[in-house]
């Protein structure tokens, strides 16, 4: 059963297709063939898969110059390659792809900056995987903290502060919530409010630095590979060179948006494959009628294929936008960043709704863990929540388009 409709391959080179095919084969072998028995077992399935993806397939080194131990790809050149590859990883396990996405988005945002050469050993260490936990602004709970609101109706405050102390920074933040990976990260990419200037900056903080303390686990609906926990920073000393980016690190969110959109697309593709396999052997209404021959079912399944096609189109177009900064603007500019975030939120919603409809068709098999469909549904829901509230982000888009954002 062919579950994909043709879409334009403009701008996709043979080499990029070949890499995506290699990742597809890897996902089939290492994740899809094994997840039926190992489910979401971190030690037996997910962690080995992460090592394979980051080190053996080489995703971790993809964006770093050869001189720094990498493959020498620039982010804009690699946008399509990585989108296609992560789509295939998402077919296997969205959580594994999410961990890679955090690492790649951080690298993409930093790469090319003044300090990237100095930071390469942190993000691309020789011989080991560098799991990165982004600690980005989030909704604030409880009384206002030292980081404060930003005075804009969509403004989530930074979760930590970094105080200048000569050539170094002193980082503080209580019970911060990483986007994911807090438990296993070697590196925390912390968007801090810089003091005394009051501006923002992205600091790379090794997880084993003195004063970094991991707290209670955060048990999330999905993304079992990205085990998370609260992280507290108390007087953590960070060398000045580890201020990777000055400003709000929009680029990180932009790249993350592309990668999470690709993962959502992969999850929906996998959901269609699962539904297709399941449907082949089903009959309904006791008359020997094949499940897929029923018009209600057939219409719904076709709608899912259309939805998946739409999702793949948006992901590829977003990759093209990020691949052409000269034409559309750089990833860290507001219009591109807001376009990426809005597209990713929409894609995650479409994918989640598609998986939800697929579950409806499969009935109890849809929510039984045995079929792995519900896991994609939980994972895409988690991605959608981590991408943030579309309501709030639309206010920033409104401000960008109309010059104000209301309140």
């Amino acid at each position: 059963m062919d579950l994909q409709l043709p879409i334009s391959g403009a701008g996709i080179e043979d080499e990029q297709r070949a890499f995506a095919d290699a990742v597809r084969g890897w996902a089939d072998r290492e994740l899809i063939a094994r997840r039926g028995t190992l489910r979401e077992d971190y030690d037996a399935l997910l962690r080995p898969a992460l090592r394979g993806l980051l080190l053996e397939l080489g995703l971790q080194a993809h964006l770093w110059p050869e001189a720094q131990g990498g493959d020498g790809q620039r982010p804009e050149e690699a946008a399509m390659t990585l989108a296609l590859a992560l789509e295939q990883v998402g077919r296997g396990d969205v959580g594994v792809g999410f961990v890679a996405a955090c690492q790649l988005a951080t690298a993409a945002a930093i790469r090319g900056g003044e300090r990237s050469a100095a930071l390469a050993p942190l993000l691309c260490p020789s011989g080991g995987e560098a799991i990165v936990a982004p600690v980005l602004p989030t909704l604030e709970l409880g009384p206002p903290g030292p980081t404060g609101g930003q005075g804009r109706p969509w403004g989530r405050p930074a979760q930590a502060t970094a105080r200048a102390d000569g050539e170094r920074w002193i980082v503080d933040g209580e019970d911060t919530r990483p986007l994911g990976c807090g438990q296993d990260a070697a590196l925390l990419a912390v968007l801090c409010r810089l003091e005394p200037a009051g501006s923002a900056g992205l600091l790379l903080v090794p997880a084993d630095a003195a004063g970094v303390r991991r707290g209670a686990p955060i048990r999330q609906t999905g993304l079992a590979a990205a085990r998370n926990c609260l992280v507290t920073f108390r007087g953590v000393v960070v060398p000045g060179a580890q201020l990777a980016l000055e400003g709000e690190a929009r680029g990180l969110r932009t790249w993350l948006a592309l990668f999470l959109a690709a993962l959502s697309s992969g999850a929906l593709l996998s959901g269609l494959e699962i539904l297709g396999d399941w449907a082949e052997s089903r009959v309904i209404k006791g008359r020997g009628q094949r499940f897929v021959d029923n018009s209600l079912v057939a219409e719904l399944m076709a709608a899912l294929i259309q939805r998946s096609t739409l999702v793949r189109l948006v992901v590829r177009d977003l990759a093209r936008v990020l691949g052409q900064p000269g034409e559309h603007g750089a990833a860290d500019t507001a219009p591109v960043s807001l376009a990426a975030l809005g597209a990713a939120q929409q894609v995650a919603r479409w994918a989640g709704e598609g998986l939800s409809r697929a579950m409806e068709l499969m009935g109890s098999a849809g929510y039984a863990t045995e079929w792995n469909l519900e896991r994609h549904w939980r994972d895409t829901r988690t991605l959608r929540s981590l991408l943030g509230s579309p309501t709030l982000d639309r206010l920033e888009l409104a401000a960008c388009c109309f010059g104000h954002g209301g309140h």
Binding site: R39, T138, L139, E140, L141, G142, P144, G148, G149, Q150, G151, R152, P153, W154, G155, R156, R177, L179, I218, R219, Q220, T221, G222, R282, V283, I284, K285, G286, L296, V297, G352, S356, M359, E360, L361, G363, S364, G366, Y367, A368, T369, E370, E374, W377, R378, R381, T382, R384, S385, L386, G388, S389, P390, T391, L392, R394, L395, G406, H407
Partner: protein, 422 residues
């Protein structure tokens, strides 16, 4: 602060007993379930946390006795013309804490309706079965063994298939039934059920309603095997598994209502199932409202609490508006089940179709609302600490059971548009 009791209920439908019972269940939920429910997902196989909560509610507080006649130690609600509304209230309160427990309780009542509810009370079976439920302070769960491997929801599609796809057979042998077959997914199986109501046929392939039989089988009868529970996306308190019946023997009078009547009154079971499902959706949404209230009062963006943020307040308003509609429609349907004088018998095709329509509409509406609530809460929404994601997972299962949305659509279209071939 305003709370869930300000969400509209049609007070003219409620009896004083409803609030008394509802209050008892709410206290149980607040004390015994809500503090532990975040660990229920890990308890899906063993029920170390869940079983004591069920023992308290069903055994010690006695909820498992409600349908049986007073003469047999029950509360006599089977005779009441308030059973629908009382059930709505109870299921809603239980589901506010945990809809998995709500379905375990609700499905226990399901087969008992066939023998405890007027006008089809079977005193002989009530006398036989009542001690399992009324003579103990331990929870006793029942299962409605209906779904089979080959047919999914075909058996519930009564109007179209009339039992013709059922492969579980009941053959007469002297004064006993001999039952053989394989059932999948009944709630309260996986080793939990003490009593099974087996939906079977007395003539394989027959679409004659007289051949559809519902036969009670104590789960400890020789030949009954319950498999291990399945692992699911949620609803850990509801154990589901395989049930194999191999030459299981029970007396002939263990058949629920008799030829023709089993078929007829099984539709009443379906109607109550739809009402119970809407009650659970309502309960889930009530607790979602509580969670959102707490969150929107604490969380801040742009220097304001979320509830004072106009754009977010619009979303919150949509969610509570959906809850109002779901709750009032659930109570209306429950009252329709009670008022046969106005709406006809609860086993009629009309009542079943209206239940299907309201159930799938409530599920769709609630899923959309909970999705938006999760959006509002950003990363906190998918954090188990806030309970909203649990309700979202459970709600999806409510939507999918009893034939799922598509069967609901077909039964709805079939009645309202008088379809002849669906």
């Amino acid at each position: 602060m305003r709370g869930i009791d300000q969400i509209t209920r049609p007070l003219e439908y409620l009896s004083p007993m409803d609030d008394l019972l509802g209050g008892i269940v709410r206290r149980w939920a607040d004390e015994r379930v809500i503090p532990n429910r975040r660990s229920f997902d890990e308890d899906w196989r063993e029920h170390r946390l869940i079983e004591p909560a069920l023992d308290r509610l069903l055994g010690e507080l006695g909820l498992q006795r409600v349908l049986f006649p007073e003469e047999l130690g029950g509360w006599g609600l089977g005779h009441s013309d308030h059973l629908g509304v009382a059930s709505m209230r109870l299921m809603e309160e239980i589901a506010r804490a945990d809809s998995g427990i709500a379905v375990a309780v609700g499905v226990t009542f399901w087969p008992l309706l066939l023998i405890c509810r007027e006008p089809h009370v079977s005193w002989r079976l009530c006398r036989e079965i009542a001690p399992m439920f009324c003579g103990t302070t331990k929870a006793c769960l029942a299962a409605n063994a209906m779904t089979e491997p080959q047919g999914g929801a075909d058996i519930e599609n009564l109007d179209l298939l009339r039992g013709s796809t059922i492969t579980t057979t009941a053959a007469k042998d002297g004064d006993e039934w001999v039952i053989n077959g394989h059932k999948l997914w009944p709630t309260n199986t996986g080793g939990a059920a003490g009593l099974l109501a087996v939906v079977c046929t007395t003539r394989t392939g027959s679409s004659d309603p007289e051949d559809l039989a519902v036969i009670f089988v104590p789960a400890d009868r020789p030949g009954v095997t319950q498999g291990a529970p399945y692992q699911k996306a949620g609803m850990a308190a509801d154990k589901n598994g395989d049930v194999w019946l191999e030459d299981v023997r029970v007396p002939l009078w263990y058949r629920a209502c008799g030829p023709g009547d089993d078929f007829r009154y099984f539709k009443e079971v379906i109607a109550f199932g739809n009402m119970g499902s809407i009650a659970m959706v309502s309960g889930v949404m009530l607790n979602a409202y509580e969670v959102l209230q707490r969150f929107a009062n604490q969380a801040r963006v742009g220097g304001r609490t979320l509830k004072e943020h106009d754009a977010t307040a619009g979303v919150l308003a949509d969610i509570v508006a959906d809850l109002e509609v779901i709750r009032i429609s659930g109570y209306q349907y429950a009252r329709m089940l009670d008022r046969r004088d106005l709406y006809g018998p609860p086993w009629s095709d009309e009542i079943v179709a209206k239940g299907r329509a309201l159930k799938y509409s409530a599920c769709d509406r609630a899923l959309r609302s909970l999705g938006r609530a999760l959006d509002v809460m950003e990363s906190f929404g998918v954090d188990r600490e806030w309970d909203l994601e649990k309700h979202w997972r459970d709600l999806k299962i409510i939507q999918l059971w009893m034939g799922g949305k598509q069967l609901c659509q077909m039964e709805t279209a079939r009645w309202y548009f008088e379809c002849e071939s669906l």
